[in-house]
Symmetry: C3
Subunit: 204 residues, 3 copies
Protein backbone atom coordinates (compact mmCIF):
# COMPACT_ATOMS: atom_id res chain seq x y z
CA UNK A 1 0.00 0.00 0.00
CA UNK A 2 1.41 3.39 -1.01
CA UNK A 3 1.56 6.12 1.60
CA UNK A 4 -0.61 8.74 -0.12
CA UNK A 5 -2.37 11.35 2.00
CA UNK A 6 -5.60 9.39 1.41
CA UNK A 7 -4.09 6.20 2.84
CA UNK A 8 -2.51 8.00 5.79
CA UNK A 9 -5.86 9.59 6.67
CA UNK A 10 -7.65 6.25 6.28
CA UNK A 11 -5.16 4.68 8.69
CA UNK A 12 -5.53 7.54 11.21
CA UNK A 13 -9.33 7.24 11.07
CA UNK A 14 -9.07 3.48 11.58
CA UNK A 15 -6.84 3.98 14.64
CA UNK A 16 -9.18 6.62 16.13
CA UNK A 17 -12.29 4.46 15.72
CA UNK A 18 -10.49 1.33 16.97
CA UNK A 19 -9.57 3.19 20.18
CA UNK A 20 -13.13 4.51 20.59
CA UNK A 21 -14.45 0.96 20.14
CA UNK A 22 -12.00 -0.53 22.66
CA UNK A 23 -12.88 2.18 25.23
CA UNK A 24 -16.61 1.63 24.76
CA UNK A 25 -16.20 -2.14 25.15
CA UNK A 26 -14.08 -1.86 28.31
CA UNK A 27 -16.58 0.63 29.67
CA UNK A 28 -19.30 -2.01 29.12
CA UNK A 29 -17.08 -4.63 30.83
CA UNK A 30 -16.98 -6.99 27.84
CA UNK A 31 -14.36 -9.75 27.89
CA UNK A 32 -11.14 -9.79 25.82
CA UNK A 33 -12.85 -11.08 22.70
CA UNK A 34 -15.69 -8.58 23.08
CA UNK A 35 -13.16 -5.74 23.21
CA UNK A 36 -11.46 -6.92 20.02
CA UNK A 37 -14.71 -7.43 18.14
CA UNK A 38 -16.17 -4.01 19.07
CA UNK A 39 -12.87 -2.33 18.26
CA UNK A 40 -12.72 -4.08 14.90
CA UNK A 41 -16.36 -3.50 13.94
CA UNK A 42 -16.19 0.20 14.85
CA UNK A 43 -13.05 0.70 12.79
CA UNK A 44 -14.15 -1.16 9.65
CA UNK A 45 -17.96 -0.75 9.82
CA UNK A 46 -18.29 2.46 7.82
CA UNK A 47 -15.88 1.44 5.07
CA UNK A 48 -17.44 -2.02 4.80
CA UNK A 49 -20.94 -0.59 4.28
CA UNK A 50 -19.56 1.88 1.71
CA UNK A 51 -17.64 -0.81 -0.20
CA UNK A 52 -20.55 -3.24 -0.17
CA UNK A 53 -23.09 -0.72 -1.49
CA UNK A 54 -20.89 0.45 -4.36
CA UNK A 55 -19.76 -3.09 -5.16
CA UNK A 56 -16.09 -2.65 -4.25
CA UNK A 57 -15.66 -6.30 -3.17
CA UNK A 58 -13.88 -8.04 -1.55
CA UNK A 59 -14.12 -5.07 0.79
CA UNK A 60 -10.98 -3.00 1.50
CA UNK A 61 -9.90 -4.63 4.78
CA UNK A 62 -10.01 -8.06 3.10
CA UNK A 63 -7.69 -6.94 0.31
CA UNK A 64 -5.35 -4.95 2.54
CA UNK A 65 -4.46 -6.96 5.63
CA UNK A 66 -2.69 -3.97 7.16
CA UNK A 67 -6.05 -2.87 8.60
CA UNK A 68 -6.66 -6.06 10.56
CA UNK A 69 -3.14 -6.08 12.06
CA UNK A 70 -3.30 -2.36 12.80
CA UNK A 71 -6.59 -2.71 14.66
CA UNK A 72 -5.19 -5.66 16.61
CA UNK A 73 -2.13 -3.71 17.75
CA UNK A 74 -4.13 -0.57 18.55
CA UNK A 75 -6.60 -2.58 20.61
CA UNK A 76 -3.81 -4.20 22.62
CA UNK A 77 -2.29 -0.76 23.27
CA UNK A 78 -5.70 0.61 24.25
CA UNK A 79 -6.08 -2.24 26.77
CA UNK A 80 -2.58 -1.77 28.21
CA UNK A 81 -2.88 2.01 28.51
CA UNK A 82 -6.61 2.01 29.28
CA UNK A 83 -6.32 4.09 32.43
CA UNK A 84 -3.98 6.62 30.85
CA UNK A 85 -6.17 7.09 27.78
CA UNK A 86 -9.20 7.48 29.91
CA UNK A 87 -7.43 10.04 32.07
CA UNK A 88 -7.98 12.48 29.23
CA UNK A 89 -11.59 13.28 29.97
CA UNK A 90 -14.03 12.57 27.18
CA UNK A 91 -11.40 10.69 25.20
CA UNK A 92 -14.03 8.37 23.70
CA UNK A 93 -15.79 11.48 22.41
CA UNK A 94 -12.51 12.87 21.07
CA UNK A 95 -11.42 9.75 19.17
CA UNK A 96 -14.93 9.28 17.82
CA UNK A 97 -14.91 12.86 16.50
CA UNK A 98 -11.51 12.46 14.81
CA UNK A 99 -12.65 9.21 13.16
CA UNK A 100 -15.85 10.91 12.04
CA UNK A 101 -14.00 13.78 10.38
CA UNK A 102 -11.50 11.60 8.58
CA UNK A 103 -13.86 8.86 7.40
CA UNK A 104 -16.26 11.45 5.97
CA UNK A 105 -13.42 12.50 3.66
CA UNK A 106 -12.50 8.98 2.58
CA UNK A 107 -16.17 8.18 1.89
CA UNK A 108 -16.66 11.24 -0.34
CA UNK A 109 -13.36 10.55 -2.11
CA UNK A 110 -14.29 6.94 -2.90
CA UNK A 111 -17.62 8.17 -4.30
CA UNK A 112 -15.81 10.64 -6.58
CA UNK A 113 -13.36 7.95 -7.72
CA UNK A 114 -16.35 5.79 -8.70
CA UNK A 115 -17.87 8.65 -10.72
CA UNK A 116 -20.95 8.87 -8.56
CA UNK A 117 -23.16 11.96 -8.43
CA UNK A 118 -22.00 14.65 -5.93
CA UNK A 119 -25.06 14.18 -3.72
CA UNK A 120 -24.36 10.43 -3.54
CA UNK A 121 -20.72 11.17 -2.65
CA UNK A 122 -21.92 13.31 0.27
CA UNK A 123 -24.25 10.52 1.40
CA UNK A 124 -21.38 8.00 1.14
CA UNK A 125 -19.21 10.30 3.26
CA UNK A 126 -21.87 10.53 5.96
CA UNK A 127 -22.44 6.76 5.93
CA UNK A 128 -18.72 5.97 6.07
CA UNK A 129 -18.24 8.45 8.91
CA UNK A 130 -21.17 7.40 11.09
CA UNK A 131 -21.89 3.70 10.51
CA UNK A 132 -19.00 2.22 12.52
CA UNK A 133 -19.88 4.31 15.57
CA UNK A 134 -23.58 3.45 15.20
CA UNK A 135 -22.85 -0.30 15.25
CA UNK A 136 -20.51 0.20 18.24
CA UNK A 137 -23.30 1.92 20.13
CA UNK A 138 -25.94 -0.65 19.16
CA UNK A 139 -23.68 -3.56 20.20
CA UNK A 140 -22.89 -1.81 23.49
CA UNK A 141 -26.61 -1.21 24.02
CA UNK A 142 -26.33 2.54 23.88
CA UNK A 143 -28.71 4.75 21.95
CA UNK A 144 -26.56 5.38 18.83
CA UNK A 145 -24.68 8.72 19.08
CA UNK A 146 -26.13 9.48 15.66
CA UNK A 147 -29.59 9.89 17.23
CA UNK A 148 -28.63 11.90 20.27
CA UNK A 149 -29.17 15.64 20.40
CA UNK A 150 -25.83 16.56 18.87
CA UNK A 151 -25.69 17.60 15.23
CA UNK A 152 -23.60 14.54 14.56
CA UNK A 153 -24.18 13.31 11.02
CA UNK A 154 -25.14 16.82 9.97
CA UNK A 155 -21.48 17.76 10.45
CA UNK A 156 -20.55 15.01 7.96
CA UNK A 157 -23.11 16.18 5.45
CA UNK A 158 -21.84 19.76 5.66
CA UNK A 159 -18.21 18.64 5.39
CA UNK A 160 -19.11 16.48 2.39
CA UNK A 161 -20.84 19.42 0.72
CA UNK A 162 -17.75 21.62 1.12
CA UNK A 163 -15.64 18.73 -0.24
CA UNK A 164 -17.62 18.34 -3.49
CA UNK A 165 -17.79 22.11 -4.05
CA UNK A 166 -14.00 22.51 -3.57
CA UNK A 167 -13.42 19.46 -5.79
CA UNK A 168 -15.61 21.06 -8.47
CA UNK A 169 -13.58 24.28 -8.21
CA UNK A 170 -10.42 22.26 -8.82
CA UNK A 171 -8.84 22.93 -5.42
CA UNK A 172 -5.74 20.86 -4.59
CA UNK A 173 -6.70 17.51 -3.09
CA UNK A 174 -4.52 17.75 0.03
CA UNK A 175 -6.09 21.10 0.87
CA UNK A 176 -9.59 19.67 0.37
CA UNK A 177 -8.84 16.73 2.67
CA UNK A 178 -7.44 18.84 5.49
CA UNK A 179 -10.05 21.59 5.22
CA UNK A 180 -13.06 19.30 5.20
CA UNK A 181 -11.92 17.00 7.99
CA UNK A 182 -11.19 20.06 10.14
CA UNK A 183 -14.65 21.45 9.29
CA UNK A 184 -16.40 18.25 10.38
CA UNK A 185 -14.38 18.02 13.60
CA UNK A 186 -14.85 21.73 14.40
CA UNK A 187 -18.62 21.67 13.81
CA UNK A 188 -19.00 18.72 16.12
CA UNK A 189 -16.88 20.27 18.87
CA UNK A 190 -18.66 23.65 18.63
CA UNK A 191 -22.08 22.03 18.60
CA UNK A 192 -21.36 20.05 21.74
CA UNK A 193 -19.70 23.01 23.49
CA UNK A 194 -22.57 25.41 22.79
CA UNK A 195 -25.37 22.84 22.97
CA UNK A 196 -26.61 23.68 19.48
CA UNK A 197 -29.43 21.44 18.29
CA UNK A 198 -31.50 20.91 15.18
CA UNK A 199 -35.20 21.84 15.19
CA UNK A 200 -37.93 19.38 16.16
CA UNK A 201 -41.35 18.98 14.57
CA UNK A 202 -44.10 17.58 16.72
CA UNK A 203 -47.36 16.18 15.50
CA UNK A 204 -49.95 18.11 17.45
Amino acid sequence: MELTLFNILDILGTIAFAISGALAAMDRRLDLFGIFIISFVTAIGGGTLRDTLIGNTPVTWMENTIYIYLIGVVTILAIVFRNKINYLKKSLFLFDTIGLGIFTITGVEIGIRNDLDPIICIALGAMTGTFGGAIRDILCNEIPVIFRKEIYATACLFGGLVFVIMHDLGVNQDIIYLTTSLIVISIRLLVVKYHISLPYFYIS
Copy 2:
Protein backbone atom coordinates in the same frame (compact mmCIF):
# COMPACT_ATOMS: atom_id res chain seq x y z
CA MET B 1 -34.95 7.30 -16.25
CA GLU B 2 -37.79 6.14 -18.50
CA LEU B 3 -41.29 6.29 -17.12
CA THR B 4 -42.24 2.62 -17.44
CA LEU B 5 -44.96 1.21 -15.18
CA PHE B 6 -42.16 -0.45 -13.18
CA ASN B 7 -40.43 2.87 -12.55
CA ILE B 8 -43.67 4.67 -11.70
CA LEU B 9 -44.54 1.96 -9.15
CA ASP B 10 -41.03 2.08 -7.70
CA ILE B 11 -41.36 5.84 -7.25
CA LEU B 12 -44.81 5.52 -5.66
CA GLY B 13 -43.51 2.89 -3.24
CA THR B 14 -40.56 5.12 -2.38
CA ILE B 15 -42.90 8.04 -1.64
CA ALA B 16 -45.19 5.89 0.50
CA PHE B 17 -42.33 4.50 2.60
CA ALA B 18 -40.64 7.91 2.91
CA ILE B 19 -43.88 9.33 4.35
CA SER B 20 -44.26 6.38 6.73
CA GLY B 21 -40.66 6.91 7.88
CA ALA B 22 -41.11 10.65 8.42
CA LEU B 23 -44.33 10.06 10.40
CA ALA B 24 -42.67 7.42 12.59
CA ALA B 25 -39.68 9.70 13.26
CA MET B 26 -41.86 12.71 14.17
CA ASP B 27 -43.93 10.45 16.38
CA ARG B 28 -40.70 9.48 18.19
CA ARG B 29 -39.76 13.18 18.48
CA LEU B 30 -36.46 12.85 16.60
CA ASP B 31 -34.80 16.06 15.38
CA LEU B 32 -34.74 17.29 11.77
CA PHE B 33 -31.82 15.10 10.81
CA GLY B 34 -33.38 12.09 12.50
CA ILE B 35 -36.55 12.60 10.45
CA PHE B 36 -34.60 12.70 7.19
CA ILE B 37 -32.48 9.67 8.02
CA ILE B 38 -35.44 7.48 9.06
CA SER B 39 -37.42 8.62 6.03
CA PHE B 40 -34.49 7.82 3.76
CA VAL B 41 -33.62 4.46 5.31
CA THR B 42 -37.25 3.30 5.24
CA ALA B 43 -37.61 4.24 1.58
CA ILE B 44 -34.38 2.71 0.28
CA GLY B 45 -33.78 -0.10 2.82
CA GLY B 46 -35.61 -2.90 1.01
CA GLY B 47 -34.17 -2.10 -2.41
CA THR B 48 -30.67 -1.72 -1.01
CA LEU B 49 -30.75 -5.16 0.63
CA ARG B 50 -32.15 -6.68 -2.59
CA ASP B 51 -29.50 -5.01 -4.80
CA THR B 52 -26.65 -5.93 -2.46
CA LEU B 53 -27.59 -9.61 -2.21
CA ILE B 54 -27.95 -10.08 -5.98
CA GLY B 55 -24.84 -8.00 -6.69
CA ASN B 56 -26.59 -5.12 -8.50
CA THR B 57 -24.04 -2.52 -7.35
CA PRO B 58 -23.68 0.42 -7.01
CA VAL B 59 -27.22 0.03 -5.63
CA THR B 60 -30.13 1.65 -7.48
CA TRP B 61 -30.41 4.89 -5.47
CA MET B 62 -26.71 5.57 -6.07
CA GLU B 63 -27.08 5.25 -9.82
CA ASN B 64 -30.36 7.14 -10.04
CA THR B 65 -30.22 10.32 -7.99
CA ILE B 66 -33.93 10.93 -8.55
CA TYR B 67 -34.60 8.76 -5.46
CA ILE B 68 -32.52 10.83 -3.06
CA TYR B 69 -34.08 14.13 -4.24
CA LEU B 70 -37.56 12.65 -4.23
CA ILE B 71 -37.20 11.42 -0.66
CA GLY B 72 -35.87 14.84 0.38
CA VAL B 73 -38.86 16.67 -1.11
CA VAL B 74 -41.39 14.15 0.24
CA THR B 75 -39.88 14.41 3.73
CA ILE B 76 -40.09 18.21 3.67
CA LEU B 77 -43.75 18.00 2.58
CA ALA B 78 -44.45 15.42 5.28
CA ILE B 79 -42.97 17.79 7.88
CA VAL B 80 -44.92 20.82 6.58
CA PHE B 81 -48.23 18.96 6.35
CA ARG B 82 -47.58 16.70 9.35
CA ASN B 83 -50.80 17.55 11.15
CA LYS B 84 -52.94 17.20 8.01
CA ILE B 85 -51.43 13.83 7.08
CA ASN B 86 -51.86 12.59 10.58
CA TYR B 87 -55.49 13.74 10.62
CA LEU B 88 -56.20 10.72 8.47
CA LYS B 89 -56.29 8.14 11.20
CA LYS B 90 -53.80 5.31 10.82
CA SER B 91 -52.02 7.05 7.97
CA LEU B 92 -48.70 5.52 8.95
CA PHE B 93 -50.32 2.11 8.62
CA LEU B 94 -51.83 3.10 5.26
CA PHE B 95 -48.60 4.37 3.68
CA ASP B 96 -46.69 1.41 5.06
CA THR B 97 -49.20 -0.96 3.45
CA ILE B 98 -49.02 0.78 0.05
CA GLY B 99 -45.23 0.67 0.12
CA LEU B 100 -45.35 -2.99 1.09
CA GLY B 101 -47.62 -3.90 -1.81
CA ILE B 102 -45.61 -2.01 -4.41
CA PHE B 103 -42.11 -3.00 -3.28
CA THR B 104 -43.10 -6.68 -3.22
CA ILE B 105 -43.77 -6.33 -6.96
CA THR B 106 -40.50 -4.56 -7.76
CA GLY B 107 -38.55 -7.14 -5.74
CA VAL B 108 -40.09 -10.10 -7.59
CA GLU B 109 -39.61 -8.33 -10.94
CA ILE B 110 -35.90 -7.69 -10.30
CA GLY B 111 -35.48 -11.36 -9.38
CA ILE B 112 -37.12 -12.43 -12.66
CA ARG B 113 -34.94 -10.01 -14.66
CA ASN B 114 -31.86 -11.61 -13.05
CA ASP B 115 -33.07 -15.09 -14.05
CA LEU B 116 -33.36 -16.26 -10.48
CA ASP B 117 -35.50 -19.24 -9.48
CA PRO B 118 -39.22 -18.42 -8.86
CA ILE B 119 -38.96 -19.23 -5.14
CA ILE B 120 -35.98 -16.87 -4.82
CA CYS B 121 -37.97 -14.16 -6.66
CA ILE B 122 -40.75 -14.54 -4.09
CA ALA B 123 -38.22 -14.27 -1.25
CA LEU B 124 -36.69 -11.17 -2.86
CA GLY B 125 -40.16 -9.63 -3.11
CA ALA B 126 -40.83 -10.25 0.57
CA MET B 127 -37.42 -8.87 1.58
CA THR B 128 -37.76 -5.77 -0.59
CA GLY B 129 -41.26 -5.15 0.76
CA THR B 130 -40.53 -5.63 4.44
CA PHE B 131 -36.90 -4.67 5.13
CA GLY B 132 -37.24 -0.87 5.00
CA GLY B 133 -40.14 -0.93 7.45
CA ALA B 134 -38.27 -3.35 9.71
CA ILE B 135 -35.24 -1.01 9.95
CA ARG B 136 -37.58 1.95 10.55
CA ASP B 137 -39.15 0.12 13.46
CA ILE B 138 -35.83 -1.04 14.91
CA LEU B 139 -34.35 2.49 14.72
CA CYS B 140 -37.49 3.92 16.31
CA ASN B 141 -37.25 1.26 19.04
CA GLU B 142 -40.51 -0.40 18.12
CA ILE B 143 -40.95 -4.15 17.85
CA PRO B 144 -40.70 -4.52 14.05
CA VAL B 145 -44.17 -4.64 12.41
CA ILE B 146 -42.98 -7.80 10.71
CA PHE B 147 -43.12 -9.66 14.03
CA ARG B 148 -46.41 -8.35 15.30
CA LYS B 149 -49.53 -10.48 15.12
CA GLU B 150 -50.57 -9.32 11.68
CA ILE B 151 -49.92 -11.57 8.69
CA TYR B 152 -47.52 -8.96 7.37
CA ALA B 153 -44.79 -10.59 5.37
CA THR B 154 -47.10 -13.50 4.61
CA ALA B 155 -49.09 -11.09 2.42
CA CYS B 156 -45.90 -10.40 0.44
CA LEU B 157 -45.13 -14.07 0.03
CA PHE B 158 -48.66 -14.77 -1.23
CA GLY B 159 -48.54 -11.79 -3.61
CA GLY B 160 -45.15 -12.94 -4.87
CA LEU B 161 -46.50 -16.43 -5.49
CA VAL B 162 -49.38 -15.07 -7.57
CA PHE B 163 -46.85 -12.90 -9.46
CA VAL B 164 -44.59 -15.78 -10.51
CA ILE B 165 -47.58 -17.98 -11.46
CA MET B 166 -49.11 -15.22 -13.64
CA HIS B 167 -45.68 -14.52 -15.13
CA ASP B 168 -45.32 -18.21 -15.98
CA LEU B 169 -48.74 -18.18 -17.65
CA GLY B 170 -47.58 -15.26 -19.82
CA VAL B 171 -50.05 -12.72 -18.44
CA ASN B 172 -49.45 -9.09 -19.48
CA GLN B 173 -46.94 -7.42 -17.16
CA ASP B 174 -49.08 -4.38 -16.31
CA ILE B 175 -51.93 -6.65 -15.24
CA ILE B 176 -49.55 -8.72 -13.11
CA TYR B 177 -48.20 -5.60 -11.37
CA LEU B 178 -51.59 -4.15 -10.56
CA THR B 179 -53.17 -7.47 -9.54
CA THR B 180 -50.39 -8.54 -7.21
CA SER B 181 -49.89 -5.19 -5.48
CA LEU B 182 -53.64 -5.03 -4.89
CA ILE B 183 -53.57 -8.59 -3.52
CA VAL B 184 -50.82 -7.75 -1.01
CA ILE B 185 -52.55 -4.55 0.09
CA SER B 186 -55.98 -6.23 0.36
CA ILE B 187 -54.67 -9.20 2.36
CA ARG B 188 -53.02 -6.87 4.85
CA LEU B 189 -56.12 -4.67 5.24
CA LEU B 190 -58.44 -7.67 5.64
CA VAL B 191 -56.13 -9.37 8.11
CA VAL B 192 -55.99 -6.30 10.32
CA LYS B 193 -59.73 -5.60 10.03
CA TYR B 194 -60.73 -9.16 10.95
CA HIS B 195 -57.83 -9.86 13.35
CA ILE B 196 -56.74 -12.95 11.42
CA SER B 197 -53.55 -14.50 12.77
CA LEU B 198 -51.21 -17.33 11.89
CA PRO B 199 -51.03 -20.40 14.13
CA TYR B 200 -48.60 -20.69 17.04
CA PHE B 201 -46.66 -23.77 18.14
CA TYR B 202 -45.64 -23.97 21.76
CA ILE B 203 -43.03 -26.25 23.21
CA SER B 204 -44.85 -28.01 26.01
Copy 3:
Protein backbone atom coordinates in the same frame (compact mmCIF):
# COMPACT_ATOMS: atom_id res chain seq x y z
CA MET C 1 -25.00 -29.48 -6.84
CA GLU C 2 -22.30 -32.11 -6.47
CA LEU C 3 -22.06 -34.01 -3.21
CA THR C 4 -18.51 -33.10 -2.19
CA LEU C 5 -17.55 -33.19 1.48
CA PHE C 6 -17.72 -29.37 1.45
CA ASN C 7 -21.32 -29.40 0.21
CA ILE C 8 -22.37 -32.13 2.63
CA LEU C 9 -20.92 -30.16 5.56
CA ASP C 10 -22.58 -26.96 4.33
CA ILE C 11 -25.92 -28.77 4.23
CA LEU C 12 -25.42 -30.25 7.70
CA GLY C 13 -24.54 -26.81 9.11
CA THR C 14 -27.62 -25.33 7.45
CA ILE C 15 -29.84 -28.03 9.00
CA ALA C 16 -28.30 -27.52 12.47
CA PHE C 17 -28.76 -23.75 12.41
CA ALA C 18 -32.29 -24.00 10.95
CA ILE C 19 -33.27 -26.26 13.88
CA SER C 20 -31.65 -23.89 16.39
CA GLY C 21 -33.57 -20.98 14.81
CA ALA C 22 -36.90 -22.81 14.87
CA LEU C 23 -36.39 -23.80 18.52
CA ALA C 24 -35.50 -20.24 19.53
CA ALA C 25 -38.56 -18.85 17.69
CA MET C 26 -40.96 -21.37 19.26
CA ASP C 27 -39.40 -20.65 22.64
CA ARG C 28 -40.20 -16.95 22.06
CA ARG C 29 -43.77 -17.87 21.01
CA LEU C 30 -43.52 -16.34 17.54
CA ASP C 31 -46.24 -17.28 15.01
CA LEU C 32 -45.78 -19.69 12.08
CA PHE C 33 -44.22 -17.05 9.84
CA GLY C 34 -41.93 -15.86 12.62
CA ILE C 35 -40.66 -19.42 13.08
CA PHE C 36 -39.87 -19.77 9.37
CA ILE C 37 -38.17 -16.40 9.14
CA ILE C 38 -35.93 -16.94 12.21
CA SER C 39 -35.10 -20.46 11.05
CA PHE C 40 -34.20 -19.15 7.59
CA VAL C 41 -32.20 -16.13 8.76
CA THR C 42 -30.21 -18.21 11.27
CA ALA C 43 -29.34 -20.79 8.63
CA ILE C 44 -28.34 -18.41 5.82
CA GLY C 45 -27.15 -15.35 7.80
CA GLY C 46 -23.46 -16.24 8.14
CA GLY C 47 -23.05 -17.35 4.53
CA THR C 48 -24.93 -14.31 3.23
CA LEU C 49 -22.65 -11.89 5.10
CA ARG C 50 -19.58 -13.81 3.87
CA ASP C 51 -20.76 -13.85 0.24
CA THR C 52 -21.74 -10.17 0.28
CA LEU C 53 -18.42 -8.96 1.70
CA ILE C 54 -16.31 -10.94 -0.77
CA GLY C 55 -18.59 -10.08 -3.69
CA ASN C 56 -19.84 -13.61 -4.38
CA THR C 57 -23.26 -12.44 -5.62
CA PRO C 58 -26.03 -13.41 -6.10
CA VAL C 59 -25.37 -15.03 -2.73
CA THR C 60 -25.19 -18.84 -2.50
CA TRP C 61 -28.76 -19.55 -1.39
CA MET C 62 -30.08 -17.54 -4.34
CA GLU C 63 -28.09 -19.59 -6.84
CA ASN C 64 -28.75 -22.93 -5.17
CA THR C 65 -32.43 -23.28 -4.31
CA ILE C 66 -31.74 -26.50 -2.43
CA TYR C 67 -31.02 -24.39 0.68
CA ILE C 68 -34.40 -22.66 0.75
CA TYR C 69 -36.31 -25.95 0.30
CA LEU C 70 -34.11 -27.73 2.83
CA ILE C 71 -34.68 -25.05 5.47
CA GLY C 72 -38.43 -25.18 4.78
CA VAL C 73 -38.58 -28.95 5.30
CA VAL C 74 -36.32 -28.87 8.38
CA THR C 75 -38.46 -26.14 9.94
CA ILE C 76 -41.66 -28.11 9.37
CA LEU C 77 -40.03 -31.17 10.95
CA ALA C 78 -38.79 -29.06 13.87
CA ILE C 79 -42.35 -27.81 14.43
CA VAL C 80 -43.89 -31.30 14.21
CA PHE C 81 -41.30 -32.90 16.50
CA ARG C 82 -40.81 -29.83 18.70
CA ASN C 83 -41.47 -31.62 21.98
CA LYS C 84 -39.26 -34.58 21.07
CA ILE C 85 -36.34 -32.39 20.01
CA ASN C 86 -36.64 -30.33 23.12
CA TYR C 87 -36.74 -33.45 25.25
CA LEU C 88 -33.00 -33.65 24.64
CA LYS C 89 -31.90 -31.07 27.19
CA LYS C 90 -29.96 -28.14 25.77
CA SER C 91 -30.71 -29.15 22.21
CA LEU C 92 -30.69 -25.50 21.05
CA PHE C 93 -27.16 -25.26 22.45
CA LEU C 94 -26.18 -28.52 20.77
CA PHE C 95 -27.45 -27.61 17.28
CA ASP C 96 -25.98 -24.15 17.57
CA THR C 97 -22.58 -25.63 18.42
CA ILE C 98 -22.67 -28.08 15.50
CA GLY C 99 -23.61 -25.26 13.10
CA LEU C 100 -20.83 -23.12 14.52
CA GLY C 101 -18.19 -25.79 14.00
CA ILE C 102 -19.25 -26.59 10.44
CA PHE C 103 -19.80 -23.04 9.19
CA THR C 104 -16.39 -21.96 10.51
CA ILE C 105 -14.89 -24.52 8.11
CA THR C 106 -16.94 -23.43 5.09
CA GLY C 107 -16.10 -19.78 5.77
CA VAL C 108 -12.34 -20.42 5.90
CA GLU C 109 -12.55 -22.65 2.81
CA ILE C 110 -14.37 -19.97 0.76
CA GLY C 111 -11.70 -17.45 1.80
CA ILE C 112 -8.93 -19.79 0.61
CA ARG C 113 -10.76 -20.42 -2.69
CA ASN C 114 -10.87 -16.64 -3.22
CA ASP C 115 -7.11 -16.35 -2.59
CA LEU C 116 -7.56 -14.16 0.46
CA ASP C 117 -4.87 -13.76 3.11
CA PRO C 118 -4.86 -16.47 5.84
CA ILE C 119 -5.84 -13.99 8.56
CA ILE C 120 -8.82 -12.83 6.46
CA CYS C 121 -9.81 -16.48 5.92
CA ILE C 122 -9.86 -16.99 9.69
CA ALA C 123 -11.99 -13.83 10.12
CA LEU C 124 -14.37 -15.06 7.38
CA GLY C 125 -14.67 -18.40 9.19
CA ALA C 126 -15.56 -16.69 12.46
CA MET C 127 -18.09 -14.39 10.74
CA THR C 128 -19.72 -17.24 8.84
CA GLY C 129 -19.92 -19.33 12.00
CA THR C 130 -21.30 -16.70 14.34
CA PHE C 131 -23.38 -14.19 12.33
CA GLY C 132 -26.49 -16.34 11.79
CA GLY C 133 -26.75 -17.11 15.50
CA ALA C 134 -26.15 -13.46 16.39
CA ILE C 135 -29.06 -12.30 14.19
CA ARG C 136 -31.24 -15.08 15.65
CA ASP C 137 -30.50 -13.82 19.15
CA ILE C 138 -31.02 -10.15 18.26
CA LEU C 139 -34.37 -10.87 16.55
CA CYS C 140 -35.45 -12.99 19.53
CA ASN C 141 -34.38 -10.15 21.85
CA GLU C 142 -31.70 -12.16 23.56
CA ILE C 143 -28.23 -10.84 24.30
CA PRO C 144 -26.34 -12.44 21.37
CA VAL C 145 -24.61 -15.70 22.43
CA ILE C 146 -21.46 -14.21 20.93
CA PHE C 147 -21.29 -11.71 23.79
CA ARG C 148 -22.06 -14.04 26.66
CA LYS C 149 -19.32 -15.36 28.88
CA GLU C 150 -18.57 -18.43 26.80
CA ILE C 151 -15.51 -18.39 24.57
CA TYR C 152 -17.81 -18.61 21.59
CA ALA C 153 -16.26 -16.89 18.62
CA THR C 154 -12.81 -17.56 20.07
CA ALA C 155 -13.42 -21.24 19.33
CA CYS C 156 -14.01 -20.32 15.67
CA LEU C 157 -10.85 -18.23 15.50
CA PHE C 158 -8.78 -21.07 16.97
CA GLY C 159 -10.36 -23.62 14.61
CA GLY C 160 -9.72 -21.28 11.69
CA LEU C 161 -6.08 -20.90 12.70
CA VAL C 162 -5.59 -24.68 12.79
CA PHE C 163 -7.33 -24.89 9.38
CA VAL C 164 -4.97 -22.45 7.63
CA ILE C 165 -1.88 -24.01 9.24
CA MET C 166 -2.91 -27.54 8.16
CA HIS C 167 -3.78 -26.19 4.69
CA ASP C 168 -0.34 -24.61 4.48
CA LEU C 169 1.26 -27.92 5.45
CA GLY C 170 -0.61 -29.59 2.59
CA VAL C 171 -2.75 -31.86 4.77
CA ASN C 172 -5.58 -33.70 2.97
CA GLN C 173 -8.71 -31.52 2.77
CA ASP C 174 -11.13 -34.07 4.27
CA ILE C 175 -8.87 -34.46 7.30
CA ILE C 176 -8.64 -30.66 7.70
CA TYR C 177 -12.44 -30.32 7.57
CA LEU C 178 -13.12 -33.01 10.14
CA THR C 179 -10.29 -32.03 12.48
CA THR C 180 -11.12 -28.34 12.59
CA SER C 181 -14.88 -28.70 12.97
CA LEU C 182 -14.28 -31.16 15.81
CA ILE C 183 -11.82 -28.70 17.40
CA VAL C 184 -14.36 -25.85 17.32
CA ILE C 185 -17.14 -28.04 18.71
CA SER C 186 -14.89 -29.55 21.41
CA ILE C 187 -13.55 -26.17 22.58
CA ARG C 188 -17.06 -24.83 22.95
CA LEU C 189 -18.30 -27.90 24.84
CA LEU C 190 -15.27 -27.92 27.17
CA VAL C 191 -15.51 -24.19 27.80
CA VAL C 192 -19.15 -24.41 28.81
CA LYS C 193 -18.61 -27.57 30.91
CA TYR C 194 -15.69 -26.11 32.86
CA HIS C 195 -16.90 -22.49 32.89
CA ILE C 196 -13.70 -21.21 31.28
CA SER C 197 -13.80 -17.51 30.47
CA LEU C 198 -11.63 -14.90 28.80
CA PRO C 199 -10.00 -12.15 30.88
CA TYR C 200 -11.67 -8.79 31.49
CA PHE C 201 -10.03 -5.35 31.59
CA TYR C 202 -11.69 -2.68 33.65
CA ILE C 203 -11.04 1.01 33.44
CA SER C 204 -10.24 2.02 36.98
